[in-house]
């Protein structure tokens, strides 16, 4: 049995105008002990909502369906009151903007001690001692516990956030764009820290990011999300060398590589709006390999190899059309007009 099983998760946001936005549309995945999973996609694809859903962290105007199974129990099943006991104890989180994620009026130490006392891990002097140890584990002197968040640099705040995440020895750490606002060197420091902690403590990690190369270097497995759905799920190696969905292949081709002179391309158009019904494959209008079936029938996520699944009709066609990224069909120049002319609404 996996450590974490997500089964057919749906999230709807109620919009002010009375309609609904179907932000997460039936997401399922598993996570094993000590495994590092990347959740990748463009902004608005539902990746942040998905991991907030794992902890039940919704604003009031949300409805949710599906199961999030931790230790064999569906923690979503009984709503806020049950899920509260799991928070930070089983799953902890590192947020995107570390500045805003820490209370400006509380010392860093107190914020680390707080969940320990709440969940009965440690209290008083023992908890404070452990907070100091955790800070040292992430590379901050224990005396940093007495300081306020605004006295820390961005990188140190993110380290403190990670220390706070480890306070209750969770089995799973969710990291939402943990390095987005940081410099390359600090980003490397934080990623190294996360990988090191995951190896040492056997911590399972879900890394949410739009940065494919980061996932390729940090995670063994990744799920690519598009328009609220996982469209491909597999090892990072499979995703790069044997992509089975055109979006994955194109997404890799949009990021330049230091030592690879391949043309970088842009994907024309914009993702579909999630407050409307989508007919056919949601990626079809932007896809370079779409055919008739794609505009009428929505492809389901199908298992193709061991640990590799994708949602694309091309995989039903005998000859595999999905190729390596070097045969990118259009160069950037030609795409300008297409990207530009799409009006996004």
């Amino acid at each position: 049995m996996s450590l974490l099983e997500v089964r057919d998760l749906h999230v709807w946001f109620e919009l002010p105008n009375g309609t609904e936005l179907h932000a997460v549309q039936g997401v399922s995945f598993d996570l094993d002990h000590g495994e590092r999973l990347g959740l990748v996609g463009e902004s608005g694809c539902g990746k942040t909502t998905t991991i907030l859903a794992l902890m039940g962290l919704f604003p009031p105007s949300v409805s949710v369906a599906g199961e999030v199974i931790v230790n064999g129990e569906n923690i979503l099943g009984k709503g806020e009151s049950l899920i509260r006991d799991y928070r930070w104890k089983e799953l902890a989180m590192v947020f995107q903007g570390a500045m805003n994620a820490l209370n400006p009026l509380m010392t860093v130490g107190r914020q680390i001690v707080e969940p320990m006392e709440l969940h009965g891990i440690a209290s008083g002097a023992a908890a404070r001692k452990r907070a100091g140890e955790l800070l040292e584990m992430v590379g901050i002197a224990a005396s940093g516990a007495d300081r306020y968040p605004h006295e820390f640099s961005g990188g140190m705040r993110q380290r403190a956030s990670i220390a706070m995440g480890l306070a209750c020895q969770p089995k799973i750490l969710l990291a939402d764009e943990p390095t987005t606002a940081l410099d390359v060197m600090v980003q490397a420091q934080i990623l190294e820290l996360l990988v090191g902690l995951s190896n040492e403590l056997g911590l399972a990690l879900i890394l949410v990011t739009h940065d494919l190369p980061v996932v390729a270097q940090v995670c063994e497995r990744a799920a690519v999300m598009y328009a609220g759905k996982i469209i491909e799920n597999g090892t990072t190696e499979d995703l790069y060398h044997r992509p089975r969905h055109p979006y994955t292949r194109l997404l890799f081709a949009t990021t330049p590589d230091l030592y690879d002179d391949d043309d970088v391309i842009s994907i024309p158009g914009v993702p579909p709006r999630l407050d409307r019904q989508i007919v056919g494959c949601p990626f079809q209008p932007r896809c370079d390999s779409a055919f008739e079936r794609c505009s009428s029938e929505q492809p389901a996520l199908k298992s193709l190899d061991v640990g590799h699944s994708a949602a694309c009709h091309l995989n039903d066609v005998p000859v595999s059309v999905t190729a390596k990224p070097e045969s990118s069909p259009r160069n950037g120049q030609a795409l300008d007009a297409v990207d530009g002319s799409d009006d996004g609404s």
Binding site: L57, R87, N100, A101, N103, L105, E114, L118, H150
Partner: protein, 323 residues
């Protein structure tokens, strides 16, 4: 280091403001054409002897600049002149009045803050519920009532049940001395209506500000972090949101002190409370300019002093201030 800077800065500002108040006071009364002190003909109660005494003491025949420095010099020595009405020095009279004003205003304001903050939190927490709607509507209504209206309504409502004027039962002390506790009780009963009026006119604004400040705080990411940690709503509000949300209230109270004092003037006027507001109104109606001038100055100093205290409180509450 930095904190010393902050305190020095605020103190300098307070002193500068008091200096400005003194200066404006001087100009208002002596330099503007037709202004009061130099034009004693407008003053009904100024006897020739008084006129002469003032002329000597404040050098009213000297140049304006000289007068200004004489005025400053006299102020330093606690001399604000002599009342035209009762020929007594102004300063001790005003201090005595201030002594009566402070308890009434403090009780009314503190009660308003406590009630306002409480309903503000409840409103924000139960946002869009019936409780929120009732509390917000009441707050807007009370915010809109001018104190004179509210005071008069209370006067009519409680005519006969609660004393409507003065600070003590008129005959208290006439038939032998009164014990401390019974005197306190007497003053307390007299204070009910004025303090309640002040409290009711103030609490609405505190509620509204607290509500929006709380709502804003509840939208911060650290509240989401607190939720992710597994904290219950009550604890999130008390531990994480409250202190952050209270910061604007400190500023607000400091900023509205001037208004609170203004409200106090009217309330003292309505309920004949023998405080500084009442004294100022009396001075206005009797053209007792030294009294008016002194009253304004003392009010200004009191407000500036309270502002300085609020600055220090803010500094205590927010570790980021000294940055």
């Amino acid at each position: 280091m930095r904190s010393a800077d902050y305190v020095i800065k605020r103190l300098a500002f307070a002193l500068f403001t008091i200096f400005m108040a003194i200066t404006i006071n001087f100009f208002l009364f002596r330099v503007i054409p037709g202004s009061a002190v130099t034009d004693l003909a407008r003053v009904p109660n100024a006897t020739p002897q008084l006129r002469h005494a003032l002329t000597v003491e404040f050098g009213l025949n000297d140049s304006k600049l000289h007068q200004y420095f004489t005025y400053l010099w006299q102020l330093v020595h606690g001399n604000m002149g002599i009342s035209y009405v009762n020929q007594q020095p102004v300063f001790p009279q005003l201090l005595n009045d201030l002594k009566n004003t402070i308890p009434m205003v403090t009780i009314g304001t503190v009660a308003a803050i406590i009630i306002g903050v409480f309903f503000g939190i409840v409103s924000a927490w139960r946002r869009d519920s019936a409780v929120d709607h009732v509390s917000t509507s009441l707050a807007i209504a009370f915010y809109s009532f001018p104190p004179q209206f509210l005071g008069l309504v209370l006067l009519i409502l409680f005519a006969g049940t609660l004393p409507s004027s003065g600070m003590e039962y008129a005959l208290a002390g006439v038939f032998g001395s009164v014990g401390f506790w019974s005197r306190l009780q007497d003053i307390g009963i007299h204070m009910v209506l004025p303090a309640t009026t002040l409290c009711l006119t103030l609490y609405g604004e505190f509620t509204l500000i607290m509500r929006s400040s709380m709502l804003e705080t509840l939208g911060e990411d650290y509240v989401l972090t607190a939720r992710a940690k597994g904290l219950r709503n009550g604890k999130i509000v008390v531990r994480h949101a409250l202190r952050n949300a209270l910061l604007p209230i400190v500023t607000l109270v400091a900023m509205s002190l001037g208004w609170i004092m203004g409200g106090a003037i009217i309330i003292e006027f309505i309920f004949t409370w023998p405080g500084i507001g009442w004294a100022m109104w009396e001075a206005v109606s009797q053209r007792d300019y030294p009294m008016l001038q002194g009253g304004f100055l003392i009010l200004a100093i009191a407000v500036v002093g309270c502002n300085f205290i609020a600055d220090l409180a803010y500094f205590k509450l927010d570790p980021r201030v000294s940055e």
